[in-house]
């Protein structure tokens, strides 16, 4: 004879299974949506005329990451890190694109704001080597190279008084390092940091 608890559990099991399946479908749907969004972004970026050397590299790496996302759908954390890395690369491309637009009227404090941001971006670019060593990408050095090149262009723009362009290029450089950081996080195999006893 089944007890009341067992009978209740058997009765509720199909309902619980239905809830869990729905959640799983919801997660999968979200990932699909994310992938769709990234594909659209990539398509918009690649559709732009005359992309620069850095943009071509960024688009190629973003496309490769989108391919990897297909095989990482089951690992929520890895999918999240890779998708954010691809997002960073496409945003970097967008920042480069925006840097080509006109400067517009010079706002008060634009120079100081550009200097502060370039300082932050410089520190970020300095971290590129460390994350490149951990990310496991075969062309990690190219990420570092383009990040540095973009920062240098931003620095030159700052010297030329093009503060908006300087901020955009600096931001693009920092986003590449951010992508490297996320790629390194995606393949994290480091042990848990020690806990004090």
């Amino acid at each position: 004879m089944l007890g009341r608890r067992q009978a209740l559990a058997i009765a509720l099991a199909p309902a619980a299974w239905a809830v869990l399946a729905k959640e799983r479908r919801s997660e999968a749907d979200k990932r699909q949506e994310k992938m769709q969004e990234l594909r659209r972004k990539l398509a918009r970026r690649t559709a732009l005329p005359s992309p620069g050397e850095e943009q071509q590299f960024l688009h190629a790496r973003a496309a490769a990451l989108l391919d990897r996302l297909k095989t990482s759908e089951q690992d929520r954390y890895v999918f999240d890190r890779l998708s954010r890395a691809a997002d960073d690369l496409l945003e970097a491309s967008e920042e480069i694109e925006e840097s080509r637009q006109g400067e517009g009227p010079l706002e008060a404090g634009a120079r100081q704001e550009a200097a502060r941001q370039l300082q932050r971006d410089y520190f970020r670019v300095q971290q590129a080597d460390y994350f490149a060593g951990l990310c496991g990408e075969p062309d990690a050095a190219s990420y570092v190279k383009h990040s540095r090149a973009l920062y240098q262009q931003g620095r030159s723009a700052y010297d030329a008084g093009q503060y908006r362009r300087a901020r955009k290029l600096g931001e693009a450089a920092a986003l590449i390092v951010s992508a490297l950081e996320r790629l390194a996080q995606a393949r994290l195999s480091a042990p848990e940091p020690p806990r004090l006893k």
């Binding site: 954010r84 971290q127 460390y130 996080q185 994290l188 020690p194 806990r195």
Partner: protein, 485 residues
């Protein structure tokens, strides 16, 4: 001009030098200790400054990282946060060589983003973790530094609170073990100091003994030389050897000079001797000649008398006596020296002159300041000298007078003095009293004092006339030796 009265004693000078050297060593030890202490303090201050600076930079970069767009650090898994913050720490600590750092999460009691400037930091030891936690608990907006010391190892940790109370940034510097320049320098300094102190003390002790030994040998040699001028200092190594050889050369030169002086004295004396001999021999010869002429006349007359022959014989005996003394003066009998006490010789000489002294009613008193005085002498010759002196004293003494014979030790020499109560020796005569054939008495030969002085010189001593005091005093000086047991 010397500002400081230098001590005369060589030993005192050496002692002062040794004490001064030890004082220098002690002062050097204190100075080195002070320098090391200051170096330690300086290194600690530098480490505190470096750690505090690194902390400030970590806090600033953490703030920038948190403010930067994208997904928030705190929303990521701990491992992902750790990696991101390690990248930040590595970049900050590239400018701080030898430092490690990271972040401390008090709610998890965990270190996060731990790295050094190379990205190859080793996990902190348990005691270092405790130190980091302690610094993080005390941390405020400004960095707080704490120092841990284990054996000779020092660890400096600074921590500063992160904004929003999310933990603390920390930086650590180890001043420990073989990498610790303080410890190594301390060991090197102390080792070098101990070695140099040992060498210095050893050198001082060695110098002390070498100098003391050298001075003792020179002193002993000089004392012996004072007693016996034929003695020479033994060979000594080093500078003292130079001194020893110089003293020996001086003694050789003095001996040679004395020999030369004696030779010249003899030559001078020879001239006087010849004159004296001529004078002394002519008188008896004249007397003998007159006697023989008288005898010849009496023989012709057949009235020979025995008294004239006897007078001639006495004059011939007198001539024989003069010649015997001359031989003794010119060629003294070889001495047969042996170590013996002087007192018996004095008593023997006094005994032998008791008869002529008694005839004149002169008393002889013997005094001795020190018993057991001994010398390496020919007893018979010394007795002969003493008899000569005593006979002269008896001759000069008034009837019922007293002759004092005194024995004493003066500067390592035995002094025998004979003093009479006579009129003394006139000052004009004194330079000639030791010359052969010089005499103030009609029946004197003038050879007694000359022969006596030769005997004294042959014994390494001297015979002197003491001009002080009433009466005449002659002093015979002889090198002293230990008394025979």
């Amino acid at each position: 001009m010397s500002l400081w009265p230098a001590p005369q004693s060589f030993r005192a000078q050496i002692t002062i030098v040794c004490l001064a050297s030890l004082a220098v060593i002690a002062l050097a030890a204190i100075l080195i200790r002070d320098v090391i202490s200051r170096t330690e303090s300086r290194l600690l201050a530098e480490a505190r400054g470096q750690c505090a600076g690194a902390c400030r930079e970590l806090v600033r970069q953490h703030r920038e990282r948190t403010a930067w767009g994208g997904d928030a650090l705190s929303s990521q898994p701990l491992q992902a946060q750790d990696l991101s913050l390690r990248g930040l720490t590595v970049t900050v600590l590239r400018s701080y060589e030898g430092l490690e750092g990271g972040f401390y999460r008090p709610e998890a009691r965990a270190l996060i983003g731990h790295a050094d400037g190379t990205g190859a930091a080793r996990a902190p030891a348990a005691r270092e973790l405790e130190l980091i936690a302690s610094a993080a608990r005390q941390a405020g907006a400004s960095p707080v530094a704490v120092v841990g010391a284990w054996d000779r190892d020092l660890v400096v940790v600074a921590a500063a609170a992160l904004e929003g109370g999310s933990g603390a940034a920390w930086a650590l510097k180890r001043l420990s073990g073989a990498r610790d320049p303080v410890g190594r320098r301390r060991q090197l300094w102390y080792g070098a100091l101990a070695l140099s102190a040992m060498l210095g003390v050893g050198a001082l002790v060695s110098l002390w003994f070498a100098l003391r030994s050298g001075v003792a040998q020179i002193n002993a040699g000089l004392r012996r030389l004072e007693e016996d001028f034929g003695h020479r200092l033994p060979p000594i190594a080093g500078e003292f050897g130079e001194i020893s050889r110089a003293i020996n050369r001086m003694a050789d030169r003095r001996t040679a000079l004395e020999a030369e002086l004696r030779r010249q004295d003899r030559l001078a004396a020879l001239g006087k001797l010849v004159a004296g001999v001529a004078h002394e021999v002519r008188n008896p010869l004249n007397s003998v000649r007159l006697t023989l002429e008288l005898l010849e006349r009496r023989l012709r007359k057949g009235a020979v008398r025995g008294e004239e022959v006897g007078a001639a014989m006495r004059e011939i005996d007198r001539l024989d006596g003069i010649l015997a003394r001359l031989l003794a003066f010119g060629r003294p009998a070889p001495a047969e020296r042996r170590l013996q006490e002087i007192s018996p010789l004095v008593r023997q000489a006094v005994g032998m002159v008791q008869e002529p002294a008694g005839r004149k009613g002169v008393r002889i008193g013997v005094e001795s300041e020190q018993e057991g005085l001994a010398a390496e002498v020919d007893g018979a010759q010394i007795v002969q000298v003493l008899i000569n002196l005593l006979l002269n004293a008896i001759e000069a003494s008034p009837p019922g007078g007293l002759i004092r014979v005194r024995q004493s030790l003066e500067s390592g020499r035995i002094a025998l003095s004979v003093t009479d109560q006579g009129p003394g020796i006139p000052e004009a005569v004194r330079p000639h009293i030791f010359e052969a054939f010089f005499t103030t008495r009609p029946e004197g030969s003038g050879l007694g004092l000359a022969v006596s002085r030769e005997i004294a010189a042959a014994h390494g001593g001297s015979l002197e006339f003491d001009p002080g005091g009433p009466g005449a005093t002659f002093r015979l000086l002889l090198p002293a030796r230990r008394s025979t047991p």
